[in-house]
Amino acid sequence: MATDTTKDAREKQKTLLGADELVLNMGPQHPSTHGVLRVKLKLDGERVIGSECMIGYLHRGVEKIAEHRTYQQFAPYVDRMDYVAAVSNGLGYCEAIEKLLMVEAPPRAKVIRTILTELQRIASHLLWLGTHALDIGALTPLFYCFREREEILKIFEKYCGARLTTHAFRIGGLQYEAYDTLEKDVERFCKAFESRITDYEELLTQNRIWLGRTKGVGILKAAEAIALGATGPVLRASGVKWDIRKAMPYAAYDQYKFEIPVGTTGDTYDRYLVRMEEMRQSRLICLQAIENIPSGPIMAKVGKVLKPPPGEVYHAIEAPKGELGYYVISDGTVQPYRVRIRPPSFVNLQAFDKMARGHLVADVVAIIGTLDIVLGEVDR
């Protein structure tokens, strides 16, 4: 302890002058960082001996903006955080405000929300799979994944007119009634999608290069994952069977049967398998949901001017990336006093250093990919 300062100085000197160590800046313009992530890598040859994530390039101050908007006005902003899973963001926000208002969306709205959110989960995982495989060197899955993702985006477009930043839900329910052929479209997609997942798996699951690049890379043990607050597929691949859809059901998830896939070793390959299985389960949820969409209103009775009674609420949902939490405080006026967004990507990214140590630079690319981060959400 006493030699701390001298040790620091030596360390510094080593970094500057030592021939065996190198500091490498990766990003923010590196294609594999999926946006504007900058990683400072400390290397010993090809091996990573330390790392630091430099984030904030995409910081827009979403939480500050929220304090200057009404509850409804802020809703479109949340779509721009995790912009590849805008529907999930919207669901979390709307439900949080509904909790604050102590209203509940009608059953029909809940089911439609569930269908769209699960489609969004598939779309988000497809984007992850395509880009992650591309990063590691498999070009083909990208085209397949985008083909299927396109089908989902078309459904969103038919439903609400937007494909990416959908703003599909409203506080209290839905603005738009489901269009006539929604069930048919979802069914057609789900029917076709089953064999499509098999196609992806045929390309990758037993592929020797894929195995070589993902097995044993970026291991995160269960205890470490919990300590670092990792959630979503990252936590489940480490063997913790925890999914908010099951643990604290929201929307209409308590009505459907589905499994929570878990991994064993917590490496990149396990996370791949978990996400693949999650897509299958999401498909099953969609199929169950379209079978019986209750009739009735799609909007709960909420006023045009929302003034939630003073108080606070924390509401979390299982977004494709993990636990997406909204902590909202109302002071009884039309604007929230404070909106805190607990972003899954931000917290999961913290595990990066732990996962990357001891691996090669090329594996860093695989580890960033497997964390499935979206910088819009990390930086907010």
Binding site: G56, V103, L228, G229, G303, G311, E312, Y314, T333, R342
Partner: protein, 224 residues
């Protein structure tokens, strides 16, 4: 459902049962009669006797077993235990935050720190709330722990208890300027290191921030 009668209330009975929202009724009445009288919808409304809503107390004292155990262990360090919309909230003495956290993790099995953030209440003597959202896998239960801190008061870091807190505390420092004592690397995380001020404080003026930026960087008086 809760909102509709509330909006009608100002015209028939100015009950005044909500003294807190002083500015709110002032803005609604002018709009209300103007639209209501031509429509002819006024007579039915006073006829329907609006049942006077009992003042709903949403924040109720919480006294469950967990609170009992924490109180027995820490005594007066547990300042307040309330429930808001069925969510448990414990407020603890700021100096005891790390110890309470350690206890909650080890003994009460709140092993996941979902979130750590802060809230600014500038009019209060201790202006900041540091808010921890915990989750227990074993109990499938959430718990919110709060600690009140004055602007200059260091808050004990919980990054030793939950490593997750490392980045989350850095973010709270970045946005609010709360100093976490014992944090391994308390630097700005989202904003550039040279940033002035702490944006999520309520007294942080975004217009002022914009103006000073354009003056400095673009050489003009105002960007608005």
């Amino acid at each position: 459902m809760a909102d509709e009668p509330k909006e009608q209330q100002p015209s028939p009975v100015p009950a005044g049962e909500k003294p807190a929202s002083g500015s709110a009724p002032a803005s609604t009445p002018p709009a209300k009669p103007a639209t209501a009288s031509p429509a002819g919808g006024v007579p039915p409304k006073p006829a329907a006797p609006v049942p006077p809503k009992p003042p709903v107390q949403l924040q109720t004292p919480l006294n469950n077993e967990l609170v009992g155990r924490v109180r027995a262990k820490f005594g007066t360090a547990l300042v307040e235990a309330i429930e808001d919309r069925k969510q448990a909230i414990l407020t603890v003495e700021c100096t005891k935050l790390a110890e309470v956290s350690q206890y909650l993790r080890d003994e009460e099995k709140f092993d996941l720190l979902s979130d750590l953030t802060a809230v600014d209440w500038p009019r209060r003597e201790k202006r900041f709330d540091v808010v921890l959202n915990l989750y227990s896998f074993a109990k499938n239960e959430r718990l919110r722990v709060k600690a009140r801190a004055a602007a200059s008061e260091p808050v004990p870091s919980v990054s030793g208890v939950w490593p997750t807190a490392n980045w989350l505390e850095r973010e709270a420092f970045d946005m609010f300027g709360i100093v976490f004592a014992g944090h391994p690397n308390l630097t700005r995380i989202l904003l550039p290191d040279e940033w002035q001020g702490y944006p999520l404080r309520k007294d942080y003026d975004i217009i002022e921030q914009d103006t000073s930026w354009v003056k400095e960087n673009l050489g003009i008086e105002s960007g608005q």
